[in-house]
């Protein structure tokens, strides 16, 4: 360990915030050599990015303060070096890429200039840098490099921007590349491409790769070793296979158990009455087609998942049914009545019966309303539950139903964690006793362990109260655990539909097949088999 190329030893970092000192990481040690891939796995707030930021000298000091430990690179302590010495290592020997390439690229300079700067900053002549930039753009798969160098970051897609970041990071053939959640904001098929590119480039250059992620699937796909972090400490480390199959620490065990996509697949009970039927919905924004002849049927008690990547039109479908947006044409029958033709008065009655849970509870709960006000607002609107004592009783019941407690009613959303906020949003939806709840990416902003809890809660509500669900999601594992029927959308059209079992075991449309192949399984062995199968195909 001590003679590794880069090793972080007993690093402790504090953040001095106005609320007091937070121990961001304590006694963290890991190391990496050329050719290796190390994953640093953790949920939000675990401190997984802090040690990498310390390596790159990009911690904001203050508020951060390194209170102990060393970072050895080729045996020399980076923390004892001058800024000028560290600047010479940054980019040239150790490079880094980030989660959100749009904000991490400078918006006002052409990308070619930004990639060349990596080389000119380390003393390479400008013409050499220019030539190498073109070569790099071609290597990472950016079409028409001569044109691309003159373009600005906003003119590329999300996946392309991450490729540009990779090209920039690899310009000087660094010994180590640190990738901080490099694929988190990307669609699954693009995530698979970017991870494959990283692996190819690693094989070519022999660099060491440190991958910071929250996603067990990414770890299984790419890493040799893994370091699991929780609350600023390393709770477990070892080879990916050992950690997955025989986790020692309770936190790791919980994390692995919570990974979605492993439970029983639900079967839809036959002959249920139809609740919602949409026919040939169309919606066009300018030149972009969001919905093209989309038809769906949803029965009472059914949970229908709509799966697709960004821009597939899955959210527009939900919003059109709820009339948050007006569809251009088509019909949507709710118990036989066309929702899209209803007057505002008629719609008001239906609004009670269909509720929605949004992606990010931080934004979907009014920050200036207490939990009591949030939950009871629907009763104000619909003139329900007029009695005050009865209201308080109902709010208490609803909070308990979603796993919160009665004393939470007087608090405000910012006093809760993300998972708790989503529970409040669910309680608000339940307050109106709806027959259908539309969940628009309702768990995708949550950490995996909390995701599992919220899914279990929704499932429980479905069984006990007989509520139907329209479940919009991009995460196939979550869909597999929750839905009995799946619809796959691409570019505004439905490409495949069927029972969950059939979609997952025998997908017929090539796009569905690609989507399933690109999805990462948390089990490294399963992932390895898929890789081999993919290579043969």
């Amino acid at each position: 360990m001590a003679d590794a190329l880069l090793s972080v030893q007993n690093l402790s970092v504090d953040f001095h915030t106005v609320r007091g000192t937070v121990h961001a990481v304590r006694n963290v040690s890991w190391s990496i050599n050329r050719g290796e891939t190390l994953a640093v796995l953790g949920e939000s707030g675990s401190g997984k990015s802090v040690s990498a930021s310390a390596v790159m000298n990009i911690l904001d000091i203050p508020p951060a303060q390194i209170v102990g430990g060393e970072i050895l690179f080729e045996g020399k302590n980076l923390l004892a070096m001058s800024n000028e010495q560290r600047r010479a290592i940054n980019g040239k020997r150790i490079a880094m890429i980030f989660q959100d390439p749009l904000s991490h690229l400078n918006p006002v300079y052409p990308v070619g200039w930004q990639i060349s700067e990596m080389m000119t900053a380390h003393g390479r002549p400008a013409d050499e840098a220019r030539a190498r930039t073109l070569e790099l753009l071609g290597r990472v798969g950016i079409p028409e490099p001569e044109n691309a160098v003159r373009k600005y970051p906003h003119q590329f897609s999300g996946g392309q921007r991450q490729r540009l970041m990779i090209a920039m990071a690899l310009a000087l053939k660094p010994d180590i590349l640190i990738a901080d959640e490099p694929t988190t904001a990307l669609d699954v098929t693009i995530q698979a491409d970017v991870l494959a590119l990283l692996k190819e480039l690693q094989a070519e250059t022999g660099m060491g790769l440190v991958l910071i992620t929250h996603d067990l699937g990414v770890v299984a796909e790419i890493a040799d070793r893994v370091v699991v972090m929780s609350n600023g400490e390393i709770v477990e480390q070892g080879s990916v296979r050992d950690v997955y199959h025989a986790p020692q620490h309770p936190y790791t065990q919980k994390l692995i158990a919570a990974a979605p996509g492993k439970g029983d697949i639900r079967i839809l009970a036959p002959d249920l009455p139809v609740l919602l039927e949409a026919r040939k919905l169309c919606k066009v924004y300018g030149r972009f087609t969001a919905l093209q002849d989309v038809s769906i049927t949803l029965a009472r008690g059914q949970s229908l998942a709509v799966v697709g990547e960004s821009g597939s039109g899955k959210s527009t479908l939900a919003r059109s049914i709820l009339r948050l947006e007006e569809a251009d044409s088509g019909e949507a029958f709710w118990k036989g009545q066309d929702l899209l033709k209803m007057s505002h008065r008629e719609l008001l009655g239906v609004r009670r019966q269909i509720q929605m849970v949004f992606q990010d509870p931080t934004q979907s709960l009014n920050p200036r309303m207490s939990v009591y006000q949030l939950i009871s607002e629907g009763w104000d609107i619909h003139n329900l539950v007029p009695d005050r004592a009865q209201r308080q009783q109902r709010v208490r019941e609803l909070l308990e139903q979603v796993g919160l407690s009665a004393e939470h009613a007087t608090r405000y959303p910012h006093q809760f964690s993300g998972g708790q906020r989503q529970r409040i949003a669910i309680a608000r939806a339940l307050a109106l006793e709806p027959e259908l709840i539309i969940c628009d990416e309702a768990v995708s902003a949550l950490d995996v362990s909390i995701q599992a809890q919220v899914i279990a809660l929704l499932d429980d509500l479905r069984q006990r109260l007989g509520i139907s669900f329209l479940f919009i999601a991009h995460d196939l594992g979550v869909v597999r655990d929750f839905a009995d029927t799946v619809i796959v959308m691409k570019s505004g059209e439905i490409v495949e539909r069927g029972p969950t079992e059939q979609i997952f075991s025998a997908p017929s449309h090539p796009y569905t097949q690609r989507l399933l192949a690109a999805a990462l399984d948390p089990d490294p062995d399963v992932q390895a088999k898929r890789r081999i199968a993919l290579a043969q195909a």
Partner: protein, 307 residues
């Protein structure tokens, strides 16, 4: 159920009753500013009642008497003016019309601007465009020139001053309100209210206005300073408030001929304008942070760190 363990404790009863005041107390500069403004407002309200006669009684022996001389009584501590009236009393009486014009202007501009802004943000594209173009016309022209011209045509008086200055300030509130409404409307909690069936009125009053209001109050504080400066400029130029009414700006103008012999005639009212506008600026800077829930923790938290 690990996510149940991290509920922030509810604030104590005392903090909840006086959150803004205790936050203000912690920022000494903002606290002093607020105190200064309260004193000035109290003088503006009650001063003329108590000192009205003193401020108009001429005393030829006290003409241009220098300040810091208590021989003629405390009222002459800041000196006497060219007709021998005590400066202190004159300043206090002038505070009333100065504040009246500024407060009237800000109130009119804020109410009209915010209402139009809410409408422009919530109504169709055409109404919105028409309202915004009108605001552009007003905004594209230096405000003092608009005021000069309109007062030239309509004649100077306090209501006309308020009217003219309000017209030049309405676009500020209008634009801010509209921009915020357009942004807040897209927020998920507004969409959530729509899904529940909330009416437009309920959405505007319960969900949008509470988010927009702090910004408006912050701007109004800053704007109060701007309007005061504009009014004093107009009065100084002789096209604003006319004697026998009096404001600080007019007092500076009246003191100008005596610069070489009695500097205090023009100096004190100007200094009061500086102190007032400076306090308003400081308070507005503080409010920008204090009234924004996303930034408020900076002020709240400092106390816990200090114990």
């Amino acid at each position: 159920m690990s996510d149940l363990s991290t509920v922030t404790p509810a604030p104590s009863e005392k903090q909840r009753t006086w959150p803004l005041v205790s936050m203000l107390w912690r920022d000494k500069l903002a606290f002093v500013s607020a105190l200064v403004l309260v004193v000035i407002v109290l003088f503006a309200i009650f001063g003329p009642m108590l000192l009205g006669d003193l401020a108009t009684s001429q005393n030829l022996r006290g003409r241009n008497s220098p300040p810091f001389d208590l021989a003629r009584g405390w009222a002459f501590i800041l000196g006497g003016d060219s007709l021998g009236r005590p400066m202190l009393a004159r300043l206090i009486v002038a505070a009333r019309s100065t504040m009246l014009v500024a407060a009237g202007t800000v109130a009119v501009a804020m109410i009209v601007g915010a209402t139009l802004g809410l409408l422009a943000g919530y109504l169709g594209k055409h109404v919105s465009q028409a309202i915004m173009r009108l605001a552009d016309v007003i905004m594209s022209f230096p405000s003092l020139l608009i005021a000069v011209i309109v007062l030239y045509v309509l004649g100077p008086s306090i209501p006309n001053m308020i009217l003219v200055l309000a017209i030049t300030r309405i676009p500020i509130y209008l634009r801010t309100t509209r921009a915020e409404v357009l942004e807040v409307r897209q927020r998920m909690f507004v969409q959530a209210a729509v899904v529940m069936g909330a009416s437009n009125g309920r959405i505007i009053l319960r969900h949008i206005l509470p988010v927009v209001a702090p910004t408006l109050v912050t701007i109004a504080t800053l704007d109060f300073a701007f309007v005061m400066l504009a009014e004093s400029s107009l009065s100084f130029l002789g096209i604003g408030i006319q004697p026998p009414d009096i404001t600080w700006g007019l007092m500076v103008s009246q003191g100008r001929p005596y610069l070489t012999t009695a500097w205090w005639l023009a100096f004190w009212p100007g200094l009061l304008i500086v102190i007032t506008t400076l306090s308003l600026n400081l308070l507005s800077n503080w409010m920008r942070v204090a009234l924004d829930p996303a930034q408020r923790w900076r002020l709240e938290a400092r106390s816990t760190a200090n114990g």
